[in-house]
Subunit: 144 residues, 2 copies
């Protein structure tokens, strides 16, 4: 993982231990193999992607089918976690991590709103994702 | 933590280990001491609440002031994690965990959209939270 620092960036010393743990409950299958290929934002009329739910958690899908919009929480497992102030390539000036939606953050959890097309054998077919193929799934919630 | 099962509910055997870890980066200060007192949904004209950021992470607030709406991710530390199908008190029939917004879920991360009123010494003053006082903070993002 990249540990370089660009001009204006500030890195934290990360804590010695985590405060809580996450279970990965599935993974996101998208057309993008690298971060460079990913769209900046997912589009609700973008390519059809799949959300594969691991066997253990499939009963939790009961009643999901028929909902039009979902919130998908996933873990950006390739992102470093120590930058407090960062200068993404798309920005001229450094920004505080909590003031931008960069994947680089203390807890690299991303959130996408997606359109649900169908559910088949524990697989959700959706549009609106923007992450790399194989990204671990953390949660699915109905959109408000 | 409650381990009872109501009619129609299904519990999972949880995995032996976590797949990733979370750092708690602060805590939410609200007027509600117990879950029974919490509103069902946070209101953007609800009571003023505070988000206290721990010292280590405060530089990450750079540039946040002046934004009107934020997304706040927090960890519902009192919720059990093993229910796949559940029957919340407010519902007649059992629902799959991914089909409802109950705090009980494999990864009990909640998301609120809040209105930012001001930032003072690493403390954000916001309206729109709905969780108990002392809830651990996971992330802050600007709303899209």
């Amino acid at each position: 993982m990249d540990k370089d620092i660009r001009a204006g960036e500030i890195a934290a010393a990360l804590p010695q231990a985590f405060d809580a743990g996450l279970y990965f409950v599935g993974r996101l299958r998208t057309p993008w193999a690298t971060r460079a290929e990913c769209p900046h934002y997912g589009a609700l009329d973008g390519p059809l992607c799949r959300i594969e739910i691991d066997d253990r958690w499939r009963p939790a899908l009961l009643g999901l089918e028929g909902r039009e919009f979902l919130q998908v929480l996933y873990f950006m497992h390739q992102a470093r976690r120590d930058l407090l102030v960062q200068t993404p390539r798309t920005r001229a000036a450094p920004s505080g991590t909590f003031a931008i939606r960069s994947p680089v953050r203390p807890n690299p959890i991303a959130l996408s709103r997606v359109r649900l097309e169908k559910v088949e054998n524990g697989v959700l077919f959706v549009r609106g994702l923007d992450c790399i193929d194989g990204t671990p799934l953390v949660d699915i919630k109905p959109d408000r």
